[in-house]
């Protein structure tokens, strides 16, 4: 269907306080279209709408409306009307007067105004409300009045700035249908701003996805969902499984260590790409029949379907021993000073980088006055470390000579490498007192720190990989002893929607047809 262009935005640039909010946005909007500007908060969608409405001036670029450039036209002379985010109904006027506001300014006769307002009240289903005070209406009713107040002026375009954001979920759904119905009935262009992807999919003829001041994709809802042009759009709209892959040649690609057929072409040979498969397009089958196999990690019942996580490539893990000991605080002879420290482990490679500060930190050496709880600085650290495996004594002491002796274990700690997942992890055994576990405010973070746990990409050692902590003790009632603590990366996980139930831990196969695979150019995050 050939439609007439109504609004043309060309290379719109806008910055606030030196911060670029719109980075050269160009967009065409046709007559009689329901267009949604969709994007996360701060993506510039509201700014774009305000430029259209005339409330903001663009720094650069042109706004063309019906063939005329309207950059310099003030809002009250533009042929478009706005429904504001918090409705902005005039509190000193009643429902009728609010709706009639624009008509009275046009000096229409009383009976014409009366007719038009009554027609609008009928359209929005608020007949009999005309003399009501707007501040006493419910959110949904105020919403309708705001829409009527704008529509009664018969604008060519209606701008709606997140008009449903302040409504509760049920009312929001109702208003979605209501808005679509009104748009179809009055037959004008609606430009609708939202950050809610479901709202956008439900109502729009055309969705404009924005992020960080740029338009990423403009398409019909089905195309935005099925053929997103980049990772951001795929992630923002709907649920998605996105993996890095390599396009071997047209219609053939490789990801997750397997080669697949797909419907995509036009990429370079061996071009790195992002691969998208929607959860509802994957089927769970017997292990032998799957294109990929994996283990069911979790299964959540969501009403119509089950949301199942299947791990096809396991994460990388390392388990260390945590030795918990009783408090071994040492008191000075006069009883005015206490000092404490722990034995600890270091890697041979790190021995030469060790200095006093690092040793104090690793052993968590502290001294304090037991009467006042004031901290006392550790004045001396004596040790004799060599880059050889073994156990070395270290002595911490305060200026007054209160001292404690501990051990440094120099070990050759193996790195756990996982070539398939392109990851490596490493962690050390460690010794802590029971009290430290019990007093910890953020135990996972502390455990990572104490164990010196780290994960990184094999291809790029500078890129760290997030580690999850797993342990099998109750932090509140832990006793002395040795406990295993595991640090683990997430593997490759597929989210799958099925109508059948699958047990956690079950080995399953994943099947998806070639056309379920959508390939996008690779973007770095």
């Amino acid at each position: 269907m050939e439609q007439k262009k109504l609004i043309e935005l060309r290379n719109i640039v806008k910055s606030f306080d030196g911060q670029l909010v719109l980075k050269g946005v160009s967009l065409d909007i046709c007559e009689n279209e329901f267009v949604t500007l969709l994007g996360p908060s701060g993506c510039g969608k509201t700014t774009l709408l305000r430029i259209l409405g005339g409330f903001l001036d663009a720094d650069e670029g042109s706004v063309t409306f019906d063939g005329k450039v309207i950059n310099e036209v003030p809002p009250y002379q533009r042929e478009l009307n706005t429904v504001f985010q918090k409705y902005a109904l005039f509190p000193h006027l009643n429902v009728y007067e609010n709706i009639a506001f624009g008509l009275k300014l046009k000096k229409m006769s009383h009976d014409v105004i009366d007719q038009k307002v009554m027609k609008m009240l009928k359209l929005i289903g608020l007949e009999g409300f005309e003399s009501k005070n707007t501040t006493l209406l419910s959110g949904g009713q105020q919403q309708r009045v705001a829409i009527a107040r704008a529509l009664v002026n018969e604008p060519k375009v209606l701008l709606l700035d997140e008009p449903l954001a302040a409504l509760d979920l049920k009312l929001r759904k109702e208003m979605q249908y209501e808005l679509k119905r009104i748009q179809e009935e009055v037959g004008i262009t609606f430009i609708f701003v939202t950050h809610d992807q479901e709202e956008a999919l439900t109502m729009s003829d055309k969705i404009v996805v924005m992020n960080e001041g740029e338009i990423l994709q403009v398409d019909a809802p089905q195309d935005i969902y099925n053929k997103p042009n980049c990772r951001f759009v795929a992630n923002f709209i709907g649920e998605s499984n996105i993996f890095p892959g390599v396009m071997l040649e047209d219609y053939h690609l490789r990801f997750d260590d397997h080669d697949f057929d797909c419907g995509c072409f036009g990429f370079k040979k061996n071009e790195p790409v992002d691969v998208l498969i929607r959860p509802e397009q994957i089927e769970i089958v017997k292990k032998e029949d799957g294109k990929l196999t994996g283990e069911v990690l979790s299964s959540l019942f969501k009403g119509v379907h089950h949301e199942i996580m299947v791990e096809t490539v396991p994460g990388t893990r390392v388990t260390v021993q945590m030795q918990l000991i009783r408090n071994q605080d040492v008191a000075s002879e006069d009883g005015n000073e206490m000092i404490s420290a722990n034995n600890f482990y270091v890697d041979i490679e790190d021995v030469e980088h060790m200095d006093d500060r690092e040793i104090i930190a690793l052993s968590n050496a502290q001294a304090w006055n037991p009467h006042t709880d004031e901290f006392i600085s550790i004045a001396h650290v004596e040790y004799d470390l060599r880059a050889e495996e073994g156990i070395y004594p270290v002595v911490f002491s305060t200026g007054n000579g209160t001292r404690v002796e501990r051990r440094i274990h120099v070990v050759n700690q193996p790195v756990v490498r996982n070539e398939r997942a392109n990851e490596a992890v490493m962690a050390f055994n460690f010794v802590r007192s029971v009290d430290e576990i019990m007093e910890s405010q953020a135990l996972d973070t502390d455990l990572r720190t104490w164990a010196g746990a780290q994960g990184w990409k094999l291809s790029d050692e500078e890129t760290s990989v997030e580690l999850y902590v797993d342990y099998d003790f109750e932090p509140d009632e832990v006793k002395e002893g040795v406990y295993p603590v595991t640090f683990e990366t997430t593997g490759h996980e597929f989210k799958v929607y099925t109508t059948t139930h699958h047990e956690e831990g079950q080995e399953v196969g994943l099947f998806f047809p070639p056309e379920a695979i959508h390939v996008m150019p690779h973007t770095e995050y």
Binding site: Y76, T82, A88, F90, H92, E97, L105, S131, N153
Partner: protein
Amino acid sequence: MKRFSKLTIPYIAWAALMLLLPMLLIAVYSFTDQGNSIIPFTFTLDNYVKFFTDPDFLLILWRSILIALKTTVLCLLLGYPIAYFIARCEEKTQNLLILCITFPMWINMLVRTYAWIGLLSEGGLVQRVLSLLGLADGELLYTEGAVLLGMVYNFLPFMILQIQTSLSKMDYALLDASADLGASPRQTFRLVTLPLSLPGVVNGITLVFLPAVSSFFIPKMLGGGQYFLIGNMIENQFITVGEWNFGSAIAIIMAVIMMCLMMLVRRIEARNEGGKGERP
């Protein structure tokens, strides 16, 4: 809250003693005369009759109301633009400007009024500048203009603060909405800004008119003996003449007139309030 309700008793007693009792006494005084040694008070309406039958007294009453009205109108005309300007500034600037407006109020009103005597008198700064420009010949002090100036100067901050408060409470999206619906900036002011600031205007009028109509110090200082107002008359009856009964009667008459005027203003405000208007 109920547990604490007994705590309010001392305050109520205090308020009754300090506010209600004097009012009652004034009312009693106004309806009595000094009587004789046997009966200390006798009921009479003479005080009221005396006031309303003497054209001089009525003239003074009329003059007082007139000058208070003039003061109020001037304060409104000067105060609204200033308040509008302040309300449109950023919050930091707003606070600074309000500080500037209220700053003179930290100094005693008597001192400030005495300062005006110095400025306006023969050879004073204002007088000299004006006569140099050929705008004023002769006496500035002890004229109606001087009294008006003193009143506006003293009461203007009340008007500005009230209007500024109601303007800065206004949602700026309403101005966008008005422009969006086709109202030019001037129409937006008339149809949105002004009606929404009306409560502030009414409060401002009340806060300026009431003290202006009963003030006695400013007309005494800046108007000299020439410009006698109702406030001065009451003061005179109590302090110079010693006619407490007649003085009380004038005070009561003033109170009733003010109450009526305020009720009138409130009614006008109520009619303009949101959503209550009838369909045209």
